[in-house]
């Protein structure tokens, strides 16, 4: 009953099931690792965005100072067209700031999304491996049962 063929069938089935589970587990583990990396990338992108905002803020301040200096030196009143010019410049500077913020956020979101994808992939791989293991177990069991491997 429990001869070499039966032992091989049972052992092989266990190996197959274990291998499948181990495969899923490892894939999930790698996916989680990839997700962690992507989250770090997202964080880093956001940090870079903040640095760029800081630099833009400095540039805005400098630009406004230069404008003030220029207005003062020229005696241009901050009304009428010059005012409009100042407003326009300020608006442009704000737009750059927002664009930069937007870009970094978008970059961070890209990483976050990829991290999520990796996690999802890991979960899927693990789930698939469970099913694969289940399939191997079921197949092995039914065939083994059919042939009387399990007594």
């Amino acid at each position: 009953m429990c001869g070499l063929p039966a032992a091989a069938a049972i052992g092989g089935m266990i190996m197959s099931v274990g291998g499948a589970l181990y495969s899923g587990h490892q894939q999930k583990k790698l996916a989680d690792r990839n997700a962690s990396i992507d989250m770090l990338n997202a964080k880093r992108a956001r940090a870079r965005g903040e640095l760029e905002q800081d630099r833009l803020r400095v540039r805005k301040v400098l630009a406004r100072g230069e404008e003030n200096v220029a207005r003062a030196g020229s005696g241009i009143q901050a009304s009428g067209s010059p005012l409009w010019q100042f407003a326009f410049n300020a608006e442009q500077r704000e737009l750059d700031s927002q664009i930069q913020e937007y870009n970094t956020e978008m970059e961070a979101l890209g990483y976050v999304n990829r991290a999520n994808t990796s996690r999802y992939e890991g979960g899927v791989a693990q789930t698939a491996s469970i099913f694969k293991a289940g399939q191997a177990a079921f197949s092995g069991y039914t065939k083994g049962k059919e042939l009387g491997v399990f007594g």
């Binding site: 001869g3 069938a9 490892q26 990839n34 400095v58 791989a125």
Partner: protein, 583 residues
């Protein structure tokens, strides 16, 4: 106004993302490999297990097949009723299933076995039922055929000419049997009809055969008149041919038997006629010799004629008897014929007993013929009868009369027919002298009752004196000395004999390459030499007697009592002569 430089950060923040991502599939490589390996092992194990199970199934199926075969054989037995076969088969099949399926554990094996078992069961079940059905039909057919065969045999014991109802009853019984057999399904309608026709034909054939056996000639008529209506064409032809042959054979047998009976009757009649004739002839002879025949006289000539009309004797025999009666008194013996007759009778003594009586009958007939022809006197006829009587009572060979007669004949140069010397032509005068001498011997011994050896010696002495034999009449001895034949001596003859025997002994050697000497050749040469020796001795005797009586060399001279003739004749024969005769 001086303008202070303003420094704004120029550094670029790196956009390089953090690397080190690894595809998740890489992580599954080991596991997948392990899984695949495990699957391979499992598949191998399962395949092995499946092979084991298939082998077990095969064994079980084989065993089941074997048991089904045994079951089939068991069921195909005359001890099992065909109606019980399905139930017994079902029981046996269940037992096979239980026994052979019990060793199978896996569902796969059980299912496979169940499938094969079902096929086996269906196949063997059908075969068993078919066999049972066939057996049922065979038994039925056998029963019918057996019954019909008995009926046919029984019909052969009934003669329908004397018991038509019994015969008809048997035929009706046969018809009924086939009807029932057809209704029971043992025969198709066509086959039943055919078998019935054949059976009825067989009954008629048996009837016809019986008639052929008992009365073949009448059977032919009955068959020709078609009084056996059930005979089929083949049987009719066969029986007609058989009847024809039997009829002809019976007719031939009858005729042959009649012929045989007739021949037998003729033979008996002939023998009776012969006996009657002999009896009358002897009666006449006795009467003629003066015996008292009162009350037993021989029949007269008229009575003999009457006997002819009654076929008690033939016409020729009557004539012979008449001649005998007429010639008895006047008869004169023909010496040559008489001695020839005695010679013939002498040979009878050497014949086997079974042949002697027939030979005696011939001799007696010859004697009667001589008497009827007037060539044999009554006294000589009595001599012949006396000799015949001594042959019949077995005293002939040892009789001194016969021994002395033989010695005399040999001493006078006579030989038996069977040892006659080829090429030797005896002088007719010598033959006549010997005949006369023997005739004289018979007169004196058989009729005159003188002593045989005295008579033989007297006659021999007289005959020798007149003998004139010549050695040149003989063949030259092959191994004798080269000299004139008349000069041969006793020593020459002895030498020739010795050399001849030596040559013959040499020729018996398988390696001998010289001239062959056959037994016959040896015998003839030895006889030739013996004859020569006899002549030489006779001549020597004659020479001695010419010179005067020589008591020491004559016949009987060495016997002090020469008158003693009481049967020791051989002692009276001169030594050298006796040797010559014996040689």
């Amino acid at each position: 106004m001086a303008k202070l430089p303003t420094y704004v950060s120029q550094g670029q923040i790196s956009k390089q993302e953090i690397g080190g991502r690894i595809s998740p599939s890489v992580g599954g490589v080991v596991g997948n490999s392990v899984s695949s390996f495990g699957k391979m092992i499992a598949d191998w194990g399962l395949a092995q297990k499946k092979a084991e199970e298939e082998l077990a199934v095969l064994n079980a199926v084989t065993q089941a097949q074997d048991k089904f075969n045994q079951l089939g054989v068991t069921l195909d037995s005359n001890t099992i009723k065909t109606s019980e076969v399905p139930a017994i088969f079902e029981k046996g099949a269940q037992k096979i299933n239980t026994e052979e399926g019990a060793n199978l554990s896996s569902p796969y094996a059980k299912r496979e076995f169940a499938q094969k078992y079902s096929q086996l069961k269906v196949r063997h079940g059908a075969a068993a039922r078919t066999a049972a059905r066939k057996r049922f039909i065979n038994e039925g057919v056998y029963s019918v055929q057996n019954g019909v065969a008995n009926d046919i045999n029984r019909s052969g014991t009934i003669d329908k000419r004397t018991n038509p109802d019994g015969y008809k009853l048997i035929q009706e019984g046969i018809i009924l049997k086939f009807q029932k057999a057809w209704q029971a399904g043992f025969y198709s309608k066509k086959d039943a009809g055919k078998a019935l026709r054949n059976a009825l034909s067989d009954t008629d054939e048996g009837q016809a055969r019986m008639m052929i056996r008992t009365d073949p000639e009448k059977a032919v008529l009955e068959i020709t008149k078609k009084n056996f209506p059930h005979l089929n064409n083949l049987a009719f032809e066969r029986i007609a041919k058989l009847a024809q042959g039997a009829s002809e054979a019976a007719k031939n047998d009858r005729l042959r038997k009649e012929d045989k009976d007739e021949a037998k009757r003729e033979k008996v009649l002939k023998r009776n006629q012969e006996t009657t004739t002999a009896k009358i002839a002897f009666s006449m002879m006795d009467q003629a010799s003066g015996e008292d025949m009162s009350g037993d006289e021989p029949p007269s000539n008229s009575a003999i004629l009457e006997m002819v009309s009654k076929r008690e004797i033939t016409g020729d025999q009557a004539k012979e008897l008449r001649n005998l009666r007429e010639n008895l008194a006047e008869a004169k013996t023909d010496d040559l014929e008489f001695l020839k007759l005695l010679d013939n009778i002498d040979e009878i003594a050497d014949m086997p007993l079974s042949q002697q009586e027939d030979a005696i009958e011939v001799a007696e007939k010859r004697m009667r013929a001589l008497m009827a022809g007037g060539s044999l006197e009554i006294n000589d006829a009595k001599t012949v009868r006396s000799v015949i009587k001594s042959i019949r009572d077995k005293s002939y060979k040892s009789s001194p009369k016969v021994v002395a007669q033989k010695w005399l004949k040999a001493a006078l140069g006579g030989t038996d027919a069977e040892i006659s010397i080829p090429g030797f032509n005896e002088d007719p005068l010598d033959k006549m002298r010997r005949t006369n001498a023997l005739k004289a011997y018979h007169d004196r011994v058989f009729n005159g009752n003188e002593k045989p050896w005295e008579v033989a010696k007297d006659i021999w002495s007289d005959a020798v004196n007149i003998t004139n034999l010549k050695l040149s009449g003989f063949l030259r001895p092959k191994y004798g000395p080269i000299k004139a034949m008349d000069e041969y001596t006793v020593e020459d003859i002895d030498q020739s004999r010795l050399e001849l025997l030596r040559k013959y002994a040499s020729s018996l050697d398988p390696n001998y390459r010289g001239e062959k000497i056959t037994k016959q050749n040896l015998r003839s040469q030895m006889e030739n030499l013996t004859g020569m020796m006899s002549v030489i001795m006779l001549k020597a005797r004659q020479a001695r007697q010419t010179l005067g009586p020589q008591p020491s060399t004559g016949p009987g001279a060495n016997n002090s009592n020469s008158s003693n003739n009481s049967g020791t004749g051989a002692n009276n024969v001169p030594g050298r002569v006796g040797a010559a005769i014996g040689g």
